[in-house]
Assembly symmetry: D2
Homo-oligomer: 344 residues x 4
């Protein structure tokens, strides 16, 4: 396989024709396909850098790139650096949102947090002042996630991040741990999140003490997973809350649909519109380099290794200015195009 | 059929359980179903009001509500006030966007206008000052649509709105007219659009004289159609640019996919996120009360009258604060739920 | 003296001719003049309300109004409710700013906080995000005052609010106390100030721990004084840092000039421009209803009881939407006009 | 005289001690003093550049610097490039504001335009959207000046810029001309001003057709004057609307006071706060490099050549990022310090 242009959020690369010119790989085995593209996009990733605003994340190896595809029959396709542990970061916003919907019901949650994309950076505070009464615009930006975290708090924050961990344990069949080093690092540099939390408190959109909400929020961000874990959760979302492998329902269809809609409109930070336009797969990214992607049952195409839908986990710590994995985004764009997975 | 709760953008109604409690109608004929829901939602619409900022639109009858569903076999389901002519308004943004992609190619268009939702009102100018270099965030808000209109201008504006009309004529099999009364009314009250156009000009995102761009933009807004016309265009979008009835391709798959992604993230003004979350169908609304909706081929469900996808046109001139038809939004939410059309 | 129209920030009253039509009082004794106007403007004040966002302030009697004029010969003119103790609130921003200039020198202070008016409310956070690198616009809004407070902090906040108290003690000849009830009330409801402090911390404009800066800031706000105390400080500012009564210099001329310029451009919250235009006296207000005003030596007019300059203290707890004493503002406008004290 | 550090808006220069370390010049003749400082600050100016956004202004010689001081006895001190003609640009905002107050009365003017500084750039449009109902914040920024221009328009714009010219002719004893080359240049590149004017129109703050208001506004900006002309107007403002040389009153005291207050809080673009803090003289600048400054009668110091007040005109076309003459600002700061002219 020779190098060639591909899709990237950078308009130049996009313009150079990523969508138009691609390998015909229908006759290649899926594994080979994934291996080759991983190798190819690793070079792009090397030009990026890992997140620097959280010291503990800055140490990641920018050239890493891995993928796992989870299928409804329980099999998985894996390629690249899929066995490197990483922290969920913003991907946890999806899990916490599902959990809070389970705890309170969709309607009560939506009173506290809207589901509208903003076009602003994930840590922007502007809108809380500009729009009365200061309800966060969606649960995928920090402001909304802090409101969700505050709803998850009952008595003790310790007790409540465990509700997020409980949901993860149920879905993954194992209880993930919290990376304490990352948590400490985030906790100590969380000035802007604290600013946002106090602002929400002032406006009546933070139900528990600020420090508790931050604790729950940052603990959830610091949950350590592997690529296959987020692929697995993607599979459950693809099946609208039901796990076809274990034959278990984890959350109702309505919650799954709402969550996937949110992933499309708000899941890739303030590049969500571009990602929807160019990739077209419900996805949620984190600044540690993970992307959790859903191929809904009806969106799975016969050309793909997931004809009946599935979940995709990607990990590549080199991120762009929006906070999304560079290699991961490119890889997903390639797959979506070659395998006709775009939901639109 | 008795009255009952339903989905509405108003959180209260949503909270009261719209999603949960609905009629079982699988045994009813589709026509009866549509007739009854039209009658039902007309009452909601009556509480709203037609657009007032364009004098000529203020005269519309707020109690009107109509629907047309266009199927790939050429048949159509129609109910309610489907035969009332109305102007495209913002729905024209979709047509012009497709046309400009045909004229310049996607890449060149995206250099001039981004595809990112904003959370701001359709006529907001803030973002052009806040974000350098002032590229409009997406072609579904006025700023972006003006940039698109300026690209459509060549020599004479007269000549160029005709390229939009040409595309419409090709798709509809007849050439729609321009409602000159509405155009005059818009032209005279277009202060804010003019402000935006001059601001874009200053920033280098308006390629032709301001007055020409406005002429093209407002002429396109004033194109008069019927509900079945937008249903028909929805059908062509559902088939990715191909008309299954006439066996004609009008635009490439890539343009169709991009357009549908934009409709999901930005199509319902700054209620797009809410509409995606609660209805989940690519749609574009206009302040005259029209909504053009797409049921993609793969999203059509076997429960529905459009198992192989189709287009839906809705018309109901009573609009909410966002600018979307109240009755139309509720009707679409009902259909999407009852017939399992949500793409997520 | 009969009732008549007067100056008020409300444009209507202003329009009705406040400036044009006033009593001729040159033949009245100054005391009588003050007594009568106090009585007159009390009625206006009654229509207002005391600050509600700090519970402890909400209890104040809205009909109170008092004034003290301090002259360079040590005599004072007093009228109305001049003996009611109140907390400094934002007036403390002036004292702390002077102190921090003494501690660090003007240049170092101005690196951390600009001296530019904003037009925004005192507790606005917008500008810290909109303008890089997030340096607060001036020390008279909360953001800037928090930066100043953080500079005043050395080891312990306890130790450092005492530097503000030290300056006050030197100027007043007595050490004011802190109203602990008010402090507690402010401390518990300081969510928005905390948000701002953390945001400043993130941007590098808060030199000490957030809680320490808040402690110093809110303690300074809670310092309890009488009207004559702020009149006395006004006198020292009028004499550019020198107390003509005790023959002591408290701060350099440059600091005094800078402070008075700031009071004119930023001293009356986001009504500073209006106050400069309509009253024209360097002043700083607080939400507890105090206003500290300076009649510079060269601005004192021969018509006035302060021909060689002096300080004016006003107290009237009914405040307008900007946070300024209603009765106090009107009274000062009357004085400035009748006695030709406007510096412009 | 050797080179040394001086005051500049750049904090570094300020910090290096401009205020503290200056020549002792009390024994020098004023003319020599001015000549030497002109020569000295010309070097600073050379580092700047003339305005580029109006093509016709870009040709100015950045090294020019001139000053004229107009005294109440009719004599003038002149130094440097005082005989170079230049266009008023924003200095015209002062003249037009005075004229509109004469035409309508202060109260009616203030209903249409506030007198509050903003901290935003002169051509910012943000605030018109953020603050309802969109009344411009002050007449010294473009938005407010356009509103003022629209009020000056009666039937024909031609007729109405002549009311501004009439006021100038009365004050200067000669009728200034309009630099048609500059006017054409501004007219053709006025996209942003047009945007602002249409926005104001939409909000109800533009009383005449947009093109007429722009014509009046840009014609007023293009009025050509010499440094002595603005010095002369400064003198009239210093004497509150009265010309002590010709013994004529041109406008009432109230208008003069209001105008001078506006010059202090808003006269030097969004460096007005800094200029008030560091120079302390009511001034209005224009992007062509002029600054019109007022030494009020009571602010004139016995150390200065204007012990009874006077007007200062400065011209130096190299401007800083705010739009203010670099050499001119430095020169005024030097004078204000050495001659004790600061009004605070």
């Amino acid at each position: 396989m020779t190098k060639k242009e591909t899709i990237i959020f950078d308009d130049d690369a996009f313009e150079e024709g990523g969508f138009e010119d691609t390998l015909t790989i229908t006759d290649q085995r899926d594994q080979t396909y994934l291996d080759e593209w991983i190798a190819y996009y690793r070079d792009y990733a090397r030009e990026g850098a890992s997140a620097t605003y959280i010291p503990a994340l800055a140490e990641a190896d920018a050239s890493q790139l891995g993928i796992v595809m989870a299928r409804p029959d329980g099999t998985m396709l894996k390629a690249g650096d899929h066995d490197v542990p990483f922290t969920l970061q913003s991907i946890s916003k999806v899990i916490s949102f599902i959990q809070v919907c389970l705890d309170y019901g969709i309607s009560e949650v939506l009173e506290k947090v809207d589901v509208e994309p903003t076009g602003d950076a994930f840590n922007s505070i502007l809108r809380l002042e500009l729009h009365k009464p200061g309800r966060p615009f969606n649960p995928m930006i920090n402001a909304g996630a802090l409101t969700v975290a505050s709803m998850l708090c009952e008595r003790t924050p310790e007790g409540k991040v465990s509700s997020t961990l409980d949901l993860l344990e149920a879905m993954l069949g194992k209880r993930p741990g919290i990376n304490e080093q990352v948590f400490e690092s985030e906790w100590e540099t969380a000035h802007r999140n604290r600013a946002m939390a106090y602002y929400l408190k002032e406006n009546g959109f933070l139900d528990c003490p600020v420090e508790d909400a931050l604790n729950v929020y940052l603990k959830a961000c610091s949950i350590e997973v592997h690529t296959e874990d987020i692929a697995k959760i993607g599979l459950i979302l693809a099946y609208d809350g039901y796990d076809p492998v274990t034959d278990q329902r984890h959350f109702p269809i309505e919650v799954a649909r709402l969550t996937k809609a949110l992933m499309v409109t708000c899941g890739m930070y303030n590049a969500s519109g571009k990602f929807a336009a160019r990739v077209g797969l419900p996805s949620k990214s984190g600044v540690s380099g993970g992307i959790m992607t859903v191929v809904s049952e009806r969106a799975g195409s016969r050309y793909s290794p997931v004809p009946h839908g599935g979940g995709i986990g990607v990990f590549g710590p080199a991120i762009d200015d929006y906070g999304n994995s560079i290699g991961g985004s490119l890889l997903l764009a390639q797959l979506a195009k070659d395998w006709d997975l775009n939901i639109f």
